[in-house]
């Protein structure tokens, strides 16, 4: 089977490496606006051949979109315009309502499978891709009833080859959930980095003192705006809801400290500790 990867970075590159390793695909076309990434993807044998977008769409059985969510939403309709009945296109974006709505009424809608692998790091580019990036992680397929059976099964098989476990969900629900368990973490982490950078001018001190707790909380603040501005933009309303709730929760800590109400402070922490039972 021939596969085209549109966007040969961390996500597309990691998928390509694993799908080739498992024998799911035997030839991979790479499409990328970034010439340096294309070359790196060739050098690492993530792709077999760098091709134009048109050739990549025409020649592949499976087309994987792994570009920022705004670009993916813009590109998907024109990919569907060009698809033959035997071809399938899947995406990998972190927001799902926008892209599924954009092709809702497209005559070839059934050839598209709305896919989101729940994994990422603060790093990017083909150099960061690995063939075990997705192992053991969750992947979401949204609005499965809108995809053709064969297209859906192909993507389901790809997810199995990636060693991911599948969850099925409505696209709108997906975007609410990811606002809570992924998007807000990034905003918190960015804001925390800005807080420290704002007040701590003695950078050496941060560097020397930063404990593992700080590093893990602020790790996501290294994530690039090229990926995250479009995500926040597409999931704006949900993210704003969660952000408002988060600020409300922070104000409770502020109030407990201001009023020196340490019983309330303890109550807030005991409640937060419940996350222990939910997250390993």
């Amino acid at each position: 089977m021939k596969t085209s990867i549109i966007g040969t970075g961390l996500i597309g590159g990691s998928m390509a490496l694993k799908l080739r390793k498992k024998g799911f695909t035997d030839y991979i076309y790479g499409i990328d606006k970034n010439e340096e990434h294309l070359q790196q993807a060739l050098d690492r044998h993530i792709i077999d051949e760098a091709v134009s977008l048109e050739d990549g769409i025409r020649n592949a059985d499976l087309i994987i979109l792994a570009i920022p969510v705004d670009a993916a939403r813009k590109l998907l309709p024109s990919i569907l315009d060009q698809l033959q009945e035997h071809q399938t296109v899947m995406d990998s974006g972190s927001t799902k309502a926008g892209i599924t709505n954009a092709v809702k009424d497209h005559p070839n809608r059934k050839r598209y499978v709305s896919f989101h692998p729940m994994w990422g790091t603060e790093n990017s580019g083909p150099v960061s891709a690995t063939d075990e990036s997705f192992t053991g992680k969750a992947a979401v397929i949204c609005n499965r009833e809108e995809s053709a059976e064969d297209a859906f099964h192909l993507v389901e098989r790809a997810a199995q080859e990636l060693d991911m476990h599948l969850i099925y969900m409505d696209a709108e629900d997906h975007d609410i959930h990811t606002a809570y368990i992924s998007h807000i973490s990034h905003i918190t982490s960015y804001a925390l980095a800005n807080t420290v950078l704002e007040k701590e001018r003695e950078e050496d001190t941060i560097f020397q003192l930063a404990s593992s707790g700080f590093s893990s909380t602020v790790r996501l603040a290294k994530s690039h705006p090229e990926m995250w501005v479009p995500i926040f933009r597409q999931n704006r309303e949900n993210v704003l809801d969660v952000l408002n709730e988060h600020i409300t929760q922070l104000r409770k800590f502020k109030s407990a400290l201001e009023k020196e109400n340490y019983d309330f402070l303890e109550e807030l922490i005991v409640n937060a500790n419940k996350i222990r039972g939910i997250l390993k």
Copy 2:
């Protein structure tokens, strides 16, 4: 050399294991109000003998306080009351101004070394202690000029045996810095956990979807109130300053999203990315 560990949990236990392994100490007394912890510390050979506080203070060359910061501040003056000239006491708390001020004018002040190993996890108790917990981490000694030379050098040697690198700092400065690079991360993480727990009632969904990003941001929310309420209490003013700044930073993200000002959003993220150059 004989050592007493007051508080045989994660921190005290980890120090004991490593200091024994390195041959820095050949007999360790354990003092703990928690009988279960004492037994676990005996079982894991973290301590040689469980003793009373009085015996622990009388018989050791080095006394290590590894209990919550409020208890440590309360206990230290009475330990100093009982110390002989050849004995040294060090603490390991995350706030330093309160405890150093509490003994500032004590006639035996010079036998105390104000110490803070910059490491911890969301876990606790002797079962979580390891002999490599502190390896490669930073440790802070505060107000070194207030300690006797021999006491200071003993603690410096202990830090070396723990494979930590030392930083010297004024206690007040220490508390400002730790508010930024440790205490605020915990509040953020607690508030994030409470945000998710507040709105996400479908706990299975959180559990299934939670990506590694979320897990690392919310990991600290598992930390216990017994340790953290006293830290926030003792460092209340600094923590409030940083918390106010953090809420201000979050409001900038909120404003950017509300006004759909994505240039500003990008600017905020680009600024946060600078943490990349500071934290590895």
